[in-house]
Symmetry: C2
Subunit: 107 residues, 2 copies
C-alpha cells in the first residue's frame, strides 16, 4: 500500500486527539494521532510494545521518559516498551503525528 | 529518545544506498535509507517482517507488490511480510527515506 501524503488521512475532533489508521500488519501498525491546538495524549506506557513517533505537520511537545522536547515537522521520538511517553500540541496550528507500534494493538 | 530532525542522521555513499540507524527496540527498528540520485534498493521481501517507509526528503519511486508510485516528502508505503518492495531515487536531489521494521532485523 502506497500513500502519496500521509497527512491527508488525518481526522480531527474538537473533544480530544483523534486517530486515523494508516496500515496494520501482523507485526507492525501505523496510524495518525491528530491534535487540535492545546490537545494532548497524556503520559502512558505500553508493556511489550515499542512506539515510534514522526511529526508530519505542526509543533509537538514530546515527552519520553525523563526527556521533553519541542519537535516539529521531520522530527521524531522513540519510546521503547515500558517507557512513559506523551505528546501535546504546543503550537497554534493542527498537529499530525505518525505513530508506529510493534506489535500492533490488540494482537 | 527524541530526534529534532530525523534527516540530520542521513549518511550517503557514492557506491550504493547507505543506511543509518535511528532506534532499535525489542519489537521495532527504525533507520534511514539514503540514496544519491539514481541509487536504488532493489526489489526484495522479508518473511515474517512488516516494513513501513516514510519519505523524509526527495522523490522516490516506490514499488510494493504490483503497485508502483512516485512518492515525495510526507508520503509513505507499507510492505507487509512477504510482499516484494523496492525504492529508487528518481529525482535529481538526495533521497532520505525512514524505514521502520518489525520485528527488528536479526532478532
Amino acid at each position: 500500500m502506497i500513500v502519496k501524503n500521509l497527512a491527508d488521512h488525518a481526522k480531527f475532533s474538537p473533544e480530544k486527539m483523534a486517530k486515523a489508521d494508516i496500515a496494520s500488519g501482523e507485526t507492525l501498525f501505523a496510524g495518525l494521532n491528530c491534535f487540535e491546538p492545546g490537545q494532548q495524549h497524556a503520559a502512558h506506557t505500553h508493556a511489550g510494545q515499542d512506539k515510534l513517533y514522526v511529526v508530519l505537520e505542526g509543533d509537538a511537545e514530546i515527552q519520553v521518559g525523563d526527556e521533553t522536547q519541542l519537535v516539529s515537522t521531520g522530527g521524531g521520538a522513540f519510546a521503547p516498551s515500558g517507557v512513559m511517553h506523551s505528546v501535546r500540541n504546543c503550537g497554534d496550528k493542527r498537529l499530525i503525528v505518525l505513530a508506529v507500534l510493534a506489535p500492533p494493538p490488540n494482537k
